[in-house]
Symmetry: C2
Subunit: 375 residues, 2 copies
């Protein structure tokens, strides 16, 4: 078993775990910085090491288009390619292809789509996506799923789920017959779909249990539904996923989303929010949300967050960061991304500490309103 | 005396020196990375330390417009402001204002100009520029000069030089009456003008000698004249500048330009070329010039330069860098800028070693054609 459940909180569904991968161990709960194209935007692998990142994410859709997954295979796999020697998870590209909307056509055996870059025609099948992920060589690879639109009727959601079910079986079968291309094991995570319909989510979980994946991901959330709906659905899912397996909610979310979802039994997160928002001027801090472009910070000698020990907060004032972003300096994007990622990773580190000490829930209840306070 | 001449080559005008500043010693010959807005584009102060940068440059014109020099004064000076605790030199903005062309009007006591950012009206006098540089607090500050256009008649060049002469005297006088605002000394460098007219260059040097600056800069070169003309004029100047003082050629140049000019007695360089060209895909290597966007490097596992020990070359393949730049990843700009700056700084380090060993000229003669070879 790649996952060891170290502790379950007596006060909530929060868990402490350890996920073993070919490139190292990942303590959970964990946040995974997103490196879509095999680069976490504006930060270097050294920056990631320094902020104590444990695992990063890349995307099969983007890597298929550019530089092409056979090239990554030829270069010895993604770790060597991108200079990050820790664990990597690749998303299957199911969500990205689904997001292409008019550019894609769902068929029985996969999805035909046009590249968002040059309009060129491509076809993803569950098998071809597994092949691509074998070529990339991530430590954790994801099933090829069909994301259910929000809102959707139960009928629509069932139809969508049926694709995911068939494709997940096909993927697992293909993997069984086609061993890794690089010299290490790849764990396979299935993706739960079913929209906002509990019976369908349950059906999806039951189906996955038979396929016996190494982990369970919850897809199709954070697609426009209210926060409370997301929490409720995640909570429903974690109640039915075997406790022995890691639970990963895909594409979520804010710092307070993560705490709320950890309370509900989620172990793993990924989101572009810390890096994307950093580039747009929005920073997460221990006191709430700070917009560093604001004139308020023009003469502020204090760092972004005095409680933060990231490279940015140890060395630079808000006045300087504000000057950099207003001057169009690339360093603004680097320093702000470093801060936000460090903040997310540190929040998970604190979370693990609190769960271990048995006082996570009280701490989280204090943190949640604080984290979302506009400064 | 801030400058110690350690050695003059018996075979050329090449020199080895040590320039003492309030924030550390600068061995010469030296290249100064350009941080126009108090940020060397796409690299952090930590990156600069790791590539062993000894002194960086910032620009009074840009800092006057954004964030404003009084703000930098309030923040404790440029070192604290930008997180770089080593030596800093500020250019006076003379060249930048001159480059504004239709947006500026030269008057007896200074230059009226409009901001390239928002069209707002400003006035730079020799005194106001010294005040601004007192506020910024760089270790070395530059006289306010009037750059002579190329080509220009002797009459035009004389008229231009007359402004520089008057303004340099005015600047020095103002500095004598107005001590530094921060707790450290600021060295004052004069700027030699005179276009491509030797008699005027000589006149400019003679005038400067009376003003007794801490160093001599050569301005108004690399403004469109042939390379040979630049070398000849620089050589003429260094023959007349007192050997006791550092000689800085402004805004120059390529790696081979630097070696040619060191042979002719230049000690200090600055140029945006390593960072700007890096962002455009052009990299300097020990074997010549490499364009890393090229399809040639698509599957190349080797780094940019196998002889280079920069962070980029130690960790990343050309294939990965090419992928990053084609994917629009910011990391491409960071890694390529780190390489080019490291290359420039390392070339100066090697130069100092060779001068010290007494075999610089033979080595430089081998390097010059190699460095400009297209790969």
């Amino acid at each position: 078993m790649p996952f060891t459940l170290l502790k379950t909180s007596p006060h909530s569904a929060a868990r402490l775990g350890l996920l073993k991968t070919a490139h190292g161990e990942v303590p959970t709960p964990i946040f995974m910085p997103v490196g879509t194209t095999a680069s976490v935007k504006a930060v270097s692998p050294r920056d990631l090491q320094e902020m104590n990142a444990k695992i990063i994410l890349a995307n099969t859709y983007h890597l298929h288009l550019r530089p092409g997954t056979p090239l990554i295979a030829k270069m010895g796999g993604i770790h060597k390619f991108c200079g990050w020697n820790g664990p990597v998870l690749t998303d299957s590209g199911g969500f990205q292809v689904w997001s292409l909307k008019e550019l894609r056509k769902i068929k029985e055996n996969g999805v035909e789509f046009r590249s968002h870059l040059d309009g060129s025609k491509h076809f993803f099948s569950p098998e071809s996506v597994m092949q691509a992920q074998r070529e990339i060589g991530a430590d954790i690879i994801m099933a090829f799923d069909e994301c259910t639109p929000f809102p959707s009727t139960e009928g629509q959601a069932q139809k969508s789920l049926d694709y995911t079910k068939r494709w997940t079986r096909a993927a697992k079968e293909w993997l069984t017959q086609n061993p890794p291309l690089h010299g290490w094991e790849q764990k396979f995570f299935g993706i739960i779909q079913g929209g906002m319909h509990q019976e369908l989510r349950l059906q999806s979980i039951e189906e996955l249990k038979q396929i016996e994946p190494d982990g369970y991901a919850i897809g199709g959330l954070s697609v426009g539904e209210p926060e409370e709906t997301m929490y409720k659905m995640a909570s429903f899912c974690t109640q039915h996923i075997p406790a022995t397996h890691p639970r990963y909610i895909m594409g979520v979310g804010t710092p307070w989303n993560m705490l709320e979802l950890i309370i509900r039994g989620i172990d793993m997160f990924d989101c572009v929010m810390p890096t994307r928002n950093a580039r747009n001027g929005m920073l997460f801090t221990s006191r709430g949300i700070l917009h560093y472009k604001s004139a308020t910070h023009k003469e502020e000698e204090a760092p972004i967050d005095e409680a933060c020990d990231c490279y940015t907060c140890r060395n630079f004032s808000r006045a300087y960061l504000r000057h950099l972003i207003h001057s169009g300096e690339l360093l603004a994007l680097q320093l702000s991304s470093i801060h936000n990622l460090h903040f997310y990773l540190n929040l998970m580190q604190q979370t693990r500490q609190k769960i271990s000490e048995g006082n996570f829930e009280g701490w989280a209840a204090e943190q949640i309103p604080l984290l979302r306070t506009p400064l």
